[in-house]
């Protein structure tokens, strides 16, 4: 039933699109009919071209994402432990946080060329903030009452960090990773639109130059679907790590 509800709006749009194209209200040069888009999608899939672009983009996202996590996470932990570092870092981050990663692309192209390095740089920039800020926030917002429990049982600082602070920060860390993954996917497609020779973004910009709106639509739908699937898989994988946050069910009487 829920699946049906989810599909209602896409189905209505598809139906309007189909009817509009058939009746002739919609200009076919601006919005090609669904049948042509479907045909293009099948051609691109069977030639392997679409999958190749998807694979290139996905590889960039995962490489960039892991590179970011490798340094954003330890940095957040360090700032979380050494509170004095916060005064140095906070204003800088507040400033950088307002700059969209896309705005830095021209500079990255000057520095790194249009190869993989500039794409990685964009992804790292896009992923850094959600991962860093959510990890830091998770560490700083640890319940003082739970830390007192550690004190009462004679825990050392190290034990308190590993046994109380880290597990309590875990849900927030995972939210940060999930947001970061979404941001990096969007930022990457943006980067590929500006400068690339492969990837989904490149496929779209190339189609614009060839006046092929059908390919553009296939590209846009692919971006949405891939983003959705990445997020869904990530959510599924991580909800096993934090089972206590699942929906509450009360076990009978006391």
């Amino acid at each position: 039933m829920k699946v049906l509800k989810c599909l209602t709006i896409p189905f209505v749009i598809l139906a309007l699109w189909f009817i509009g194209s058939t009746v002739g209200i919609i200009n076919q040069y601006i919005i090609p009919p669904p049948s042509r888009v479907l045909h293009t999608a099948i051609t691109l899939l069977s030639s392997g071209l679409l999958l190749e672009h998807i694979a290139t983009s996905l590889f960039r996202v995962f490489a960039g994402f892991f590179a970011t996590v490798l340094f954003a996470f330890p940095l957040a932990v360090l700032v979380g432990i050494k509170r004095k570092l916060q005064d140095f870092i906070e204003p800088v981050l507040d400033f950088l946080g307002h700059i969209p990663p896309i705005a830095c692309i021209p500079m990255f192209i000057l520095w790194f060329g249009i190869g993989e390095a500039s794409k990685l740089a964009v992804i790292i920039l896009a992923t850094f903030f959600p991962v860093f800020l959510n990890t830091l926030n998770g560490i700083l917002s640890c319940d003082k009452q739970l830390l007192e429990v550690g004190d009462v049982f004679g825990f050392k600082d190290r034990d308190k960090f590993l046994r109380i602070i880290m597990p309590s920060a875990l849900p927030s860390i995972i939210v940060g990773l999930r947001l970061g993954l979404g941001y990096s996917w969007r930022a990457l497609v943006g980067a590929e639109l500006i400068a690339a020779s492969s990837g989904i973004g490149y496929m779209i910009i190339e189609a614009e130059q060839l006046s092929r709106p059908d390919i553009i639509i296939v590209g846009i739908i692919t971006i949405g679907l891939c983003g959705y699937l990445i997020d869904y898989c990530f959510f599924r994988l991580t909800s096993c790590i934090i089972p206590w946050t699942r929906k509450r069910s009360v076990y009978g009487r006391s």
């Binding site: 739970l146 429990v149 076990y251």
Partner: protein, 251 residues
């Protein structure tokens, strides 16, 4: 095994530069393996005293020391202190069983740990719910888990800060009885804070009455466990405590 000697303890807090005298001239001797109830209105300094005893806060003046019973040999002295808070304060990411094993994280002998945890799961009737998370259990079960966690730590002195305050009357009554059974079985020193005079008289071998950071009176309760709250002796002690509190309020 250990008793607690509290001598001339003062505690001042500073809030917005203004000194507040939370405790003044507190003297109590809590005998080894005795059950002492501290009773008084909220804000009378009971919780502060518990925090001083377990080292979460430092006293401004005076001394808190632990002593061993004379029959105990000098070479196996210990004075482990722990507290059961007003809120259960369970780790939300651990199950009931894991929460109870929480203080024993450093223990190498895992068999001993699971033995201890199982023992208290049985004693507190939590076995059925050992795999539930704190968000899935009722308040009474959560408070029993918190009590079990402290018992697993095996302290010599257990401090309790209104641990039953948030529970309904039935659950509360049952846990009071459980507590007395555990006290008699495990031979611990227990300091129990409450604002409920009935509860204090039901549990304590000695009731210490607090008022505005001072002790008004120590009232011994020489009634055998289990106590009947409707018996004449019980009502007599209760009446005495209530009149002492009332007299203080009319001053």
């Amino acid at each position: 095994m250990a008793g607690v000697k509290i001598q001339k303890v003062d505690k001042n807090f500073y809030i917005n530069g203004q000194g507040i005298n939370a405790l003044s001239d507190i003297n109590i001797t809590i005998e080894d393996r005795s059950f002492v109830a501290l009773v008084g209105k909220s804000g009378s300094g009971k919780t502060t005293l518990l925090k001083l005893i377990c080292g979460l806060e430092k006293s401004t003046r005076g001394e808190i020391s632990f002593f061993q019973p004379p029959e105990k040999s000098m070479n196996c002295q210990s004075n482990k202190v722990s507290i059961v808070f007003q809120e259960p304060r369970l780790m939300p990411w651990l199950t009931v069983e894991q929460n109870m094993a929480f203080p024993l994280i450093k223990e190498k002998n895992r068999d001993l740990v699971s033995q201890t945890v199982n023992h208290y799961l049985d004693l507190l009737v939590l076995k059925e719910f050992k795999n539930a998370y704190p968000s899935q259990i009722s308040g009474g079960m959560a408070q029993r888990t918190a009590l079990g966690r402290t018992l697993c730590y095996d302290p010599d002195v257990i401090l309790m800060d209104e641990p039953l305050g948030a529970l309904d009357a039935f659950t509360r009554k049952k846990l009071q009885v459980d507590l007395i059974n555990i006290f008699q079985l495990k031979k611990k020193t227990i300091v129990f804070v409450t604002h409920d005079v009935d509860e204090a008289v039901f549990l304590g071998q000695k009731v210490v009455i607090f008022e505005a950071g001072k002790i008004i009176e120590h009232v011994p309760v020489n009634i055998d466990y289990p106590r009947d709250p409707l018996s004449r002796d019980f009502l007599q002690v209760k009446k005495k405590i209530l009149s002492l509190i009332e007299a203080e309020n009319f001053h």
